[in-house]
Structures are given as C-alpha cells and as structure tokens.
C-alpha cells in the first residue's frame, strides 16, 4: 500500500518534512510542493535529511513551484525527480493514497 507524502512547508521554517521522513515506508513517494521545494536543494543545512533515504522512497519536487521561487537552475539533491502538475496527478492516481503533512 504505497503512500504519497506531500510536504508543502520549507524545512527551514517547519518540521513537516522531518515528521514525514520519520513515517515513510519503503516504496512510498515524497513530493515536495510550494515552499516544500526548498528541501530539494543540494548543499543546504537540511540536505542530509532527504539524502539518508538511500532510494527506499522516491523523491519528487514540483517544477512550477521551483520556478516560482527562482530555483529552477539550482542544483538539487541526487535522486530528486522534477515533475509538473500532470506528474503530480500521476503520483496521486498510481499510489494507493495520499497524505498531506500540513
């Protein structure tokens, strides 16, 4: 029963991503949206959090939200796939359920 976890807060202002990563199971997907996309940046103070997943979960960031924050050209963590709203819909519909970490 893989779950899609959606995180919409920056890890620099809120511990939603941390809580999320404490609950993800192998095979789950984590999608960073809105200010959550700051968590996808390489080399930040919190980069280690997502880096520790070792491929057990799939990591995604919403491209339009990266672009809206001027982050499209910034290096992202390895293993993070950038997707559009269509890809967002595909994640919701292919995984069994979705959990918003608000």
């Amino acid at each position: 029963m893989p779950t899609l976890h959606m995180v919409n807060k920056s890890p620099f202002e809120d511990n939603a991503l941390q809580s999320c990563l404490g609950h993800v199971l192998k095979g789950d997907a984590v999608l960073l949206i809105e200010d959550g996309v700051y968590g996808a940046l390489a080399g930040s103070a919190v980069a280690g959090m997502l880096g520790q997943q070792n491929g057990a979960v799939s990591l995604y960031a919403l491209g339009p939200d990266l672009a809206a924050r001027g982050l499209s050209e910034k290096p992202l963590l390895g293993g993070v796939d950038v997707i559009d709203y269509g890809g967002f819909v595909d994640l919701v519909t292919t995984l069994d359920r979705s959990q918003s970490w608000l």
Partner: protein, 133 residues
C-alpha cells in the same frame, strides 16, 4: 491509465496561502488526463474563495473566477463548509435570509453545505487530496 475518481479539500485561504492555487492547477491537470473530480470541498479559510465580491487587481489572477469558470466548464461540485462560511461572512440566499442579513455573496458554481460532504468525498472518491496551510 483508467480514470480515477478524485476528491479535493482546500483549507488554505486565497491570496494568503498557495493551497487554492495549487489545487486549481492540480484539478485542471487531472481533468486534462481524463480523471473525474467527484467534489472540491472548501474548508476553514479556504471558504474565502467562494465569495463573488472580491476584486483583485487586473494583472493578478482571480482565484474565485478561475474556479467558477472551471466548475462551469466541467460541471464540478464546489462545496463550501457552512460553519466555516458563516464565521467568515460567506452566505447564499437561504443563509442570508435565515440569519437576517441584507445580502448574499456566494460565487457562481459554489454551494454551501455541511462537513458530511467532505466525509462523503472521502468515502466515494478513490483518492482524497488535501491542500492546506
């Protein structure tokens, strides 16, 4: 992929949080892919999307109008939580009459109903996606 029935809940207020914008783009993309939107439920500050009296600057998006037009085009069921709406001054004709108010402001394509509508969306839809604060 076969069509999936989606329920959407929006709890973040328009122009303060991104929730209603993200949900709008998500719903549009889902419809383009042929999925069904069973219902969009506006809760907490999300109900503020459902007033037709907002007048945002012309070079800004009109969140209410975007949702109303999408609802008309795709026959969407846009439901505003009654308890959250009453607290924030979102009224339809019936509620305005019942509360003794001099006017209503519910936007085209929106209707006011109870929290049971959100529970029903959770039961009937294949997936429930929450866009919040």
């Amino acid at each position: 992929m076969s069509a999936v029935k989606l329920g959407v809940v929006i709890t973040g207020g328009p122009y303060t949080r991104q929730a209603s914008d993200t949900a709008y783009q998500f719903v549009k993309a889902a419809l383009e892919k042929g999925h069904e939107i069973f219902r969009v439920f506006f809760y907490n500050d999300g109900v503020n999307v459902g007033t037709r009296l907002t007048v945002p600057p012309q070079d800004d998006r009109n969140i209410q109008k975007n949702w109303s037009e999408l609802a008309e085009r795709h026959k969407l069921d846009l439901v505003v939580c009654v308890a959250a709406a009453q607290r924030r001054g979102i009224l339809d004709k019936d509620e305005a009459g019942r509360q003794g108010k001099d006017g209503d402001n519910i936007a085209p394509g929106f209707r006011i109903s109870g929290l049971g509508q959100m529970i029903e969306a959770g039961i009937v839809a294949d997936r429930l996606v929450i866009f919040g604060d």
